[in-house]
């Protein structure tokens, strides 16, 4: 059987953090209660000079620093995000140029709410399997926006991760991937609008939980596995509560979820969320570890992945780029005023 999977990976999380309590205090809410309710203590905030393109480039460069591939052998780049810096003009071309992968290269930007990054992984897997490219680069990154005072303001954050997909010398084999998709308007942002809208509690049961559960069940059916067969499980994480609840419902333990759960300390990085979770797991994974990952994108769909870590992970020069845990710890707190400046809330005619 062909061995298709992850050749290398890299992540990027901006340095700035704002605490849930700091945001809550501006709106006259009880920060402790909100923090406990959402399971989010603080979230990452992009600096004025950071956006989805810079996060994507830094993630891709980190992935390249850890392996020995020639960027010219990368035949496709897909950047998934709901905060591409341009509405029209790809982020992927910036990445391609910045890592030296142009010009014999397929590029497109993806948007599927929070699962655009994993959709890119699936595309790369397909192209590699079809022998159309040697390597593909899939990135999920966001500097997600939330309207001031909206519930999303406590979670919408910034970060991303990139995965180089290839054949043979893979550090982790993607045994299988499938998706579960319906038309469910739980969360959206209309063209030319700055902030997203959402269906409140409708984003829960009929959206997040339904799609993740169905995708997970179908993947385990296909792979003939049970939750206890996996060492790690990663679920999309819009807050700290949903992924833990869906894991429990499916029969996974908190122990399996913990390593891939970053939202409590960096917030929801949208397209970056499941991808950063996977990067965090690979940072500590050992050969033979079995990983279960389900992303979720509003609108709505879930991508499921069954992954096995290989011996090659020992050859990865992981020290050539910062670990996810190191980036989580490398932080600088800002107050709401600075946050407002950094996230362009202060604008005038």
């Amino acid at each position: 059987m062909e061995n298709i999977g992850i050749i290398s990976y890299g992540a990027n999380i901006p340095q700035f953090r704002i605490k849930t309590e700091e945001i809550a205090s501006v709106w006259g809410k009880d920060g402790k209660i909100i923090s406990r309710g959402l399971g989010i203590q603080e979230k990452s905030v992009p600096g004025l000079d950071q956006d989805t393109a810079t996060i994507s480039v830094e993630s891709a460069r980190a992935a390249l620093r850890r392996c020995n591939i020639d960027p010219q052998d990368i035949g496709a780049i897909y950047v998934g995000s709901e905060s591409h810096p341009y509405a029209v003009k790809p982020t992927g071309t910036i990445v391609g140029e910045a890592i030296g992968a142009t010009p014999d290269l397929m590029v497109a930007d993806y948007e599927f709410a929070c699962k655009a990054g994993t959709a890119g992984v699936q595309t790369c897997v397909g192209f590699v399997k079809a022998d159309m490219i040697k390597y593909g680069l899939a990135i999920g990154a966001d500097t997600s926006q939330a309207a001031p005072g909206d519930a999303l303001e406590y979670s919408a954050s910034a970060g991303g991760a990139g995965f180089i997909i290839g054949k043979d010398d893979v550090i982790a084999t993607i045994n299988h991937t499938l998706s579960y998709t319906t038309d469910t308007p739980d969360f959206w942002r209309r063209a030319e609008r700055k902030y997203p809208s959402h269906g409140g509690r409708f984003t829960g049961a009929p959206a997040y939980f339904k799609h993740i559960s169905n995708c997970a069940t179908r993947l385990m059916e296909k792979m003939q596995t049970k939750p206890e067969d996996y060492d790690y499980a990663i679920f999309h994480q819009p807050n700290g509560k949903f992924p833990v609840n869906v894991a429990k419902k499916l029969g996974f333990s908190l122990e399996q979820v913990k390593q891939g759960l970053l939202t409590p300390v960096i917030g929801n990085t949208y397209s970056g969320a499941a991808m950063l979770g996977l990067a965090s797991v690979l940072d500590v994974a050992k050969p033979g570890d079995h990983i279960f990952m389900i992303s979720y994108g509003s609108g709505a769909g879930s991508d499921g992945f069954d992954i096995t870590v290989t011996d090659k992970i020992k050859d990865l020069k992981i020290e050539n780029a910062p670990l996810v845990a190191e980036m989580v710890e490398d932080k600088k707190y800002i107050d709401y005023g600075t946050y407002a400046k950094y996230t362009d809330l202060l604008y005038w005619e």
């Binding site: 000079d49 810096p85 341009y86 140029e97 910045a98």
Partner: protein, 134 residues
């Protein structure tokens, strides 16, 4: 800063620190030169493109408190002249560190950031800034 072409033609330098090297005397240039100022005509046809590593150290710096319009929101921010390991010196911002930590001799490495933009409707220009070397 003028039209997009002016930025676009410098993308190899701004994104990837592509300089060049005189194979006659070995001197490295950034930005690239058409000929070597030392070897003059002997360098013709012997200038080879090279990618710089982006590692270097601070030669001198300033902390800008009154910035140009496009950089006003970032003040106070450090700007420095950096001696790259390959030899050339360049001017760039130092980011992701306390402004009081910036010192002459500090080891730095390049990172990819947004440098400026032509307002909210114009093109976004990316390029190098430097961070403290980990």
């Amino acid at each position: 800063m003028g039209g997009v072409a002016r930025f676009w033609r410098e993308i190899p330098q701004r994104y990837n620190l592509i300089g060049n090297k005189c194979e006659e005397c070995g001197q490295v240039f950034f930005p690239p030169r058409e000929s070597c100022p030392k070897c003059r005509r002997k360098s013709m046809g012997k200038i080879k493109e090279i990618k710089l590593t982006g590692k270097g150290k601070i030669v001198t710096y300033s902390i800008i408190h009154v910035g140009p319009e496009e950089f006003e929101e970032q003040v106070p921010y450090p700007i420095a002249i950096i001696q790259l390991d390959e030899g050339p010196r360049i001017t760039a911002q130092i980011v992701d560190c306390d402004i009081h930590d910036v010192k002459i001799g500090m080891k730095v490495e390049s990172t990819f950031r947004k440098i400026q933009q032509d307002g909210s409707t114009g093109a976004i220009y990316y390029g190098y800034k430097f961070i403290k070397r980990k």
